[in-house]
């Protein structure tokens, strides 16, 4: 066991899997000697050499497109995209090819790649360094989408992703990178993709969230003084809607929290599914606490944009009072 932050836990998972499986290679901008701009790949270049930890040209479509070819040939590339705001140029290769290759070729080719992408706001970064595009990739069939909220989960989920034979978009919440440490086993372990975690149990209301927002939710729960169950989805596709259903069947009230804009965000999908599954039990409409339908503002106002414990608290109150 070691006391690690999110950056360290991911680094550990990467190095253990690289040790174990020489099909795993890392590629991206500044992942080599520099160890990535967040230092997530720190030390890996020194340890595994320049053939397995590869600095690429500055081109996100190229990084993903090349990774697709590597994966089709049987390797397990782990491309890094430096910030979620630069995933856009790779959208087409991810959605038109990575997501489709297995079904297109009836399984003759698969694309076992894991693209790591720092995500979200709250770190005083410049424009396009603070967005939350997860819903975009959940809407694309053929991809899996993961977003851990803690070091322990990150290690187990990343190992699962690296061993998965389908393309995974692995979002790493920047705000959590160095926010706290927790005990992370040295030994390898996996957390299955598609399984949510009940962070804390409760009877009055269910909160569903993922990524950095989970921390804001915990704060809000503490402040509320209510018996609230918090579900961290961990994997966004496939989504563990059974866990959500089980909880809401019990509590009859639900709040969903995410940083991405409200409209078309995953909160909508979760709300719709809760309605489909818990219609008769539901005592209040599912409340969504999300980014507003505006551009994520530059950092002077970013905290006004992002869900915080006050806004989550308001939603808890609204749901309970309904």
């Amino acid at each position: 066991m070691a006391n690690l932050n999110l950056v360290q836990a991911i680094n550990l998972a990467l190095s253990q899997e690289m040790e174990r499986d020489d099909r795993v290679i890392i590629l991206g901008e500044d992942v080599g000697a520099n160890g990535g701009v967040f230092r997530v790949t720190e030390g890996l270049h020194a340890r595994f050499g320049g053939t397995r930890v590869v600095d690429t040209p500055l081109c996100e479509s190229g990084i993903i497109g090349t990774s697709i070819g590597l994966a089709m040939a049987g390797l397990r590339p782990v491309p890094e995209i430096q910030f979620e705001g630069f995933l856009g140029p790779a959208y087409d290769q991810l959605c038109s090819h990575a997501a489709r290759m297995r079904t297109r070729t009836r399984g003759a080719f698969t694309v076992p790649l894991t693209v790591r992408v720092p995500v979200g706001g709250g770190i005083h970064a410049p424009e396009l360094h603070s967005d939350s595009p997860e819903a975009i990739y959940v809407h694309q069939p053929g991809l899996k989408v993961v977003m851990p909220s803690s070091p322990y989960d990150a290690k187990g989920l990343l190992i699962s992703a690296l061993r998965d034979s389908d393309p995974v978009v692995f979002f790493e919440p920047k705000r959590v990178y160095r926010a706290f440490r927790e005990e992370v086993p040295e030994d390898e372990y996996t957390i299955p993709l598609g399984k949510a975690r009940v962070v804390c149990e409760g009877n009055d209301l269910t909160i569903v969230s993922w990524g950095a927002s989970v921390i804001q939710c915990m704060q809000a729960i503490e402040k509320s003084g209510k018996s609230i169950e918090l579900i961290d989805l961990r994997t966004l596709y496939p989504m563990d809607i059974d866990a959500v259903e089980a909880s809401v069947s019990k509590t009859a009230r639900c709040v969903v929290v995410h940083e991405a804009p409200l409209t078309g965000g995953l909160g909508a999908e979760i709300a719709a599914r809760i309605m489909e599954r818990c219609f008769l039990q539901l005592e209040a409409p599912v409340q969504r606490v999300a980014g507003f339908d505006t551009i994520m503002p530059y950092y002077k106002l970013e905290l006004d944009y992002m869900p915080d414990s006050a806004r989550i608290g308001q939603a808890i109150q609204d749901a309970l009072a309904y």
Partner: protein, 386 residues
């Protein structure tokens, strides 16, 4: 080499860079044959086989066209006139070298061993046409223009990573060279030293858009200069020039693990696809000139000159092809219809439970409704609202 950050600065006007690009033609449309380059390039027996392969591809093309016109196939992009480039490449390369193609490389794919019915099935709207055995080292037909070259870069990199001697050869049109992904693939391969042959089939048109809108430079070959790649321009309707260039490129690429750029000048004699009407945008006079430059004609004439071929061999060939291709069509059309839920089956290595539910209930329930979760009596046509 991109200058190092420490080199001296030299004054005032110096030459920073200098280059030139060769153009290769060995067997031209007038029957001229260059012995110096062409002599032992293609043994006679192979020449006959190559001609037969081109003829087969041409025949299939015509059959496919008729299938589309009679409603038995969807949109189909004819290959007519462009048989030589992919064929020459498939002929030179080994079976372990990747062919990463677009949709005008049928001839090379057939040479490699892809069954004709696979291509037909693809255009008949059936994914099973893409289930090509991995050991053929061919990727599926690429629909989004310009994207597949990056896959070639990754595939070849994997060979290099495993210290295997295999390279990739990727095909694309003049239009494709305008896409950003084309640039990223060339640049990736050049700078990370990945053994890819970038093979451009310049057929002067991208649907209705003329070549000069894709590239106003004197050649398309010079795209490669941007990456410091060796580049060559060839007569793409000349199977000898193709074989010459691919041999040269493959030797270089295999030896250095660096990419090579080939521009093959060719022409599509048919419409862009069966959905197109090229008379709207190009002159018949241009087409007529290129009909003279048909790769089949000049190859057949040379074979006749060399006494390898005659009219009766030709009619035997056509008869044999007629039968073979009819059989391929029968196989493509005869395959059992896919199950109506088939599109669920290859989504993931393991189907997520929600997709299993969607598949199972697709004809019986609304999408969001898990039958087991409906309140008693619900979803029965006669039930009343709660």
């Amino acid at each position: 080499m991109f200058g190092s950050a420490i080199g001296p600065l030299i004054m005032p006007i110096t030459t920073a860079f200098k280059t030139e690009i060769e153009r290769i033609s060995i067997l031209d449309e007038h029957g001229n044959f260059d012995e110096s380059l062409g002599k032992d390039l293609i043994p006679n027996a192979d020449l006959v086989r190559l001609y037969e392969a081109m003829s087969a591809c041409r025949f299939l093309d015509e059959v496919a066209f008729k299938l589309q016109r009679s409603g038995r196939m969807g949109t189909y992009p004819q290959n007519m006139g462009q048989e030589a480039p992919s064929l020459g490449a498939a002929y030179v390369l080994t079976k372990n070298d990747w062919l990463v193609t677009c949709y005008r490389e049928n001839c090379g794919l057939f040479w490699r061993g892809v069954p004709m019915e696979s291509i037909l099935m693809h255009w008949m709207g059936d994914e099973r046409g893409n289930a090509i055995p991995r050991e053929l080292h061919c990727t599926p037909i690429a629909i989004p223009i310009g994207t597949q070259m990056l896959h070639a870069t990754g595939l070849a990199w994997a060979s290099k990573y495993r210290s295997e001697p295999h390279i990739a050869c990727t095909f694309f049109g003049d239009g494709a060279t305008s896409e950003g992904d084309f640039h990223e693939a060339c640049n990736f391969a050049a700078n990370l030293e990945i053994p890819v042959i970038f093979f451009c089939q310049n057929n002067f048109w991208a649907i209705s858009v003329p070549g000069k809108i894709q590239c106003s430079a004197p050649t398309l070959a010079q795209r490669g200069i941007a990456y410091g790649m060796p580049c060559i321009q060839i007569d793409g309707n000349d199977i000898f020039a193709v074989v010459y260039a691919v041999k040269k490129a493959a030797a270089y690429t295999r030896a250095t693990s660096k990419p090579y750029f080939i521009e093959a000048v060719t022409y599509r004699l048919a419409d862009h696809t069966t959905a197109d009407d090229a008379r709207r945008y190009r002159d018949q006079a241009e087409v007529d000139i290129w009909k003279q430059r048909d790769p089949l004609i000049r190859t057949r004439d040379l074979m006749k000159k060399r006494k390898l071929w005659n009219d009766s061999k030709e009619s035997d060939l056509q008869e044999r092809l007629g039968k073979e291709i009819a059989a391929a069509v029968a196989r493509a059309e005869g395959i059992a219809a896919p199950d109506r839920t088939d599109f669920f089956n290859y989504m993931y290595s393991e189907l997520p439970s929600d997709l299993i539910r969607q598949r199972e209930t697709m004809h019986t329930h609304s999408l969001g409704q898990d039958p087991s979760q409906l309140p008693a009596g619900a979803a029965m046509p006669t039930a009343t609202a709660h």
